[in-house]
Amino acid sequence: MSIHDVPTLINQFIASVGTADLETSQAHALQLSLLLASGELSLLQFIQNLGPSLTSDNDIIRSKSLNCLSATLEQLQKSKLSKQDINVLVDFLLNKFDDKICLQYVLITISLLVQFSNFLHENIDKVLLKVLQEYDPKKNLAKVRHEAFQILQQIYDHHNEYLVKSHNSSDLFVKTFIHLATGEKDPRNLLTSFGLNITINSTFTFDPEGNDLHNSFMNDLFDVCFCYFPISFTPPANDPYKITADDLKLKLRACIASQTLFAKDSFSSLIEKLTSTNPTIRNDVLKTLLQCVENYSTETLEEYWLTIWNALKFEILHNDVSMFKSDSDLLYPAYDSIDDTDDTKCLILTLVIVQKLAQRLGDVQMDNFLQTIKGELKENLVKAKDKSKQSVLLLSSVASLSIHSFNLIVSFLFSIEIWGKYISNEYRAPNPATELDVSDETLNVSMQRDLVDNFGFVFTAYLELIARISTSSNTQYLEHFTMGNELSHCKDHLLIFLGQLLMTSSNLEKTLKSKTIQQLVKLIKIHQFLNDNEVNLIFGYFGDIIDSIIKTPFWEKDLVLGEIVTGLTQVMDTHEQLVIDNILANLLIHLESAQGDFDQFERLLNLIGKICVNHQFLEILSIRLSNKLNPGIETKLFQSIVELFIDLIVKIQATNQFLMNSWYKSFVPRILTTLTKLEVNPDEYLIDRCGDLVGLIIRFIEKSKHQAILDDFLQCKIGGLPNVFEQPHQLVSLINKILANVDKSVKFEQVEQAEESVTKLIYSLQSDEFLRIQYLQTLSILVNKFDTSDQSSKLEKYYGKKDFVSFEILIWLIKALILRTDRVGIEYLGKLIDDLTTSQDIEVKHVISKSLTILFIDLKIFDNTKTTSSINAKKLISKVTNLNVKLLYKQQVFELILPRLIENCESSENHPEISLNALSLIIENISTKILSSHLKEILPLVLRGLAVKDSTTIIKSSLSTLKITIEESQSIIQPHLSTLIPSLLNWATKVIRTGNVRINSEEIRILSLRCLILIFTKFNGLERYKASALNELKGGLDDKKRAVRKLCCDLRQVLYEL
């Protein structure tokens, strides 16, 4: 590219600019700028070449020519042009202001020139003055006005040091800004305008007192922003600038808060806007007010705090403050996330502003402030009036800020005149003056409730103050404060007063009691406020209440008791020993005496369980309760205790894991000995639960100890367990749990011998179904976890045999293998499915279809979620991995089987009902997640299943699959609604029998009704079924089963509302 091409480049630019081809014109401008930068082309030559078009009579050519100039300068390095060049260009451009068509490019070019390093400061004044005098924003479009704002922005960005030094220039700058900003309406320009306003306020200093010009600046600067408040803006559909209403709101808010000198106008104007009834506006006002209070200078705030206080106090005093609860934080900590249209947010914001205001005031004014609010609110507090809660809220939020204000406010609140007269006997000494006014002093119950609530706010303030002091690093303060403050001075009176309320108020007054308990608990929680004796006193109260409550019927639902339990769990971590000594000891005594009354025993155990929230307490409990475990114990009680421990271990491990190594030495033998020596033969369920408990404990014992544990159990060294591998014994289910819960890395010596003897036992147990299946599980888990040898020959052997027991063994072996997705297992599963299709013997088909359940059912020994669903996701602290189960085995196997089953269902030769039955057995044991992707394939089978009239299982699983389908995918169901609804109504309301057996059992009726309710709530346009369905359902209203009647009523209600 050479200098001779310049005219061509210019012409090409003019030709291409303004069309869609932005890149071409940019490329031309870049080449021009490169020529200028390299010095091949001087500015003079460039302008000369531009000359003809610059002076063209054609408006469009002229403006495009200026566009070429600006585009070229934009690409040019900002250090290139000489002072002289710039001066000439500036003069040239300033002369073109009356050329309306070109004005936009003139302004752009000026703002570009401002950025050049050789732009002289004298030019600033020249440009500003020109803009001020000869540019009228009202006559120009938004995009042109935008460029004018850009000039100011660029002048500030590149020459702010000069502006700050030269007062004349800065005044001129402000004047020009006000000129530009007045009457602006475009959102993009407004953002720039607010931004400039903020910059002006934060960098320039003004003296409105001594300088009239500055005084008028202040007014104008305030006016050009506040006139938009409260700003509302809905972005147009395709806004290229992506400006949101929030952008504008935040910028405007920052702008109003950026100048402390605005105070005289801003506070009064904002407070005036607070009278709005629209919560969105009120919240906007309050947020702006808050930002002003945060940003304005202390002097300003000291001048205006009274105005603000006077306006804000009514926000609280005259509103419903029931959202503030004495048992939670003073201010809802995440209040920012509350929607702006919510009235309650106004209340919170108001309190936040009051707090912020109090924090910003200096000591002298702070004292004035405190005196004022005390004086103004006193009247509301002396008599327990309806504004007392509001007043206490205001006072508490200020009290939570500093030690000084806390002490002042607390001593005020607990003075004789206000609360002192209630809580302290000394103050009630005969005094003629007050005796006349006796009615004032006696509190009725609702006043007592309010009073306790009000105490609560002060206590919360105390808690928040302590949190504040402790984060501010100076621990000395904290020490000093907790040692002696106004609240601790009246501690004794308070405790006695609250104690009296708790113990002497009527038992029907549950709310008062609950509130009192909450506040007593809060006092316990306050750091170093109460000593152990005082806490003991409170726990004594609680103990007494528990004693009296548990004598009443249905006490487990009592609200007061619930409150005590919640309270105890909150202070458990800090006062565990006191809880154990006072409460637990007492409850254990009750437990002792309730042994004859099983219901009471179980409810008491439950209560203890609720209190137990940490493992230290649990360990104590395990020691105390294991004293009760002896062979003479009633099995019901034993079972309750075992289940309590399972629940508690799961609950505590879920929140805070702990190792249970020590439990193995004492607790586990105790449980096992009790179980083996039990006078009455234990039932299967008890053994099962004991197994769960011991298994659970083992899982939380360190991995390194697991080998020893397994050996102990196998050699029968613990708890007097028999050797279940030699003789059939019902305790095998417990051993299964042990095998299932030890780490999978543990070695099982001579596992093959064990397998052999178990197999022998299985054959010998033909007639004892339960025990045989237990041993089959043993076999399965041995193969799954401990036997790593190749199983194919074994499977081949059992596959060849024709008797049922061998077939069962085969199935359980396959289960063991497919759980770890072993190739051999999958291979034999395939053979089974082949047999299901090809076998001629209908009996064989039935057995195979039934056996599929075994493969899919979740057994405790292969599934941790059965006992510990909440802990499952996390890694165990003991590092134990007890299962040898692949995560997705079910999905894999299901996807293998499903097509074959569907195929079978579709061909009539293959006894489709058998496959349908198999499928329904599988679906029962499969999670929705796996099922949902196959719903479309399964639906035809489901519809067929609903037409079957002689198998409960098929109908049941069809209905549950249907229910999942309705929930997951409406579009699949839609075309079948016209047949589905009548058929479901039929199943729900009619008596359908095969022989003497009613096919549509309660469960089926319930499922059909659930499906119908889902259908009628999820699908639209079903009005045509309304009348007939209502009519059919009348039959269901007289169903024998209550649950069915209830669902009929619900469904009818849904239908009536259609």
């Binding site: 009539s908 008596v991 359908i992 059992s1001 024998k1040």
Partner: protein, 213 residues
Amino acid sequence: MSDPINANPTIIDVSNLPTRIGQDTKATNRNAELVERITSLSLLTPKVHHPSSPATTVPDLVSDVDMDSTEDELVDEDDEDEDAIDAQEIFDLISTISDPEHPLTLAQLAVVNLSDITVTLGQNKNTDISEVLIKITPTITHCSLATLIGLGIRVRLERCLPARFRIRILIKEGTHQSENQVNKQLNDKERVAAACENDQLLSVILQMLSTCK
């Protein structure tokens, strides 16, 4: 409702109300359940779930013709125990109806109480008539909404009880100044039918019933 007639009623906490909803009524024998669950995995008893006659064709479809209602009158053998309709069930049906002027339910306001519900079952389900008698307690003696509340209860029960039940709703003795009038109004078939044809009234009632659980 501009000015509530009784602006400050006594309220009973929901958790203190007698209810059966949400309770597991079946006291199950967990041992039997466990044994059954485990033994159901046995393959030695393959005939349990299997159709009585191994059909070789597609199973029969259920035909509506078989389901004549006379059939269950003829064979009314007890395959399952009956949960008879009792006062608690009636209470659960009507306790969650909202009061027309407070955002509370009738049970919370103690307008309906379990002890004021009497169910008299006929000897034979199919031939004899049964009766439900409910006595409602207005929150104050001049409550003009007592009829509306009564009507709401009647509509709810008519929708939820089988036709063999006769529903009688009375004001509890001595709790309303125009007890007889209200009683008459609530139990007069014609008047109730007429009231239910009034669209505006019906929409208020629907509003009241919309909170029913």
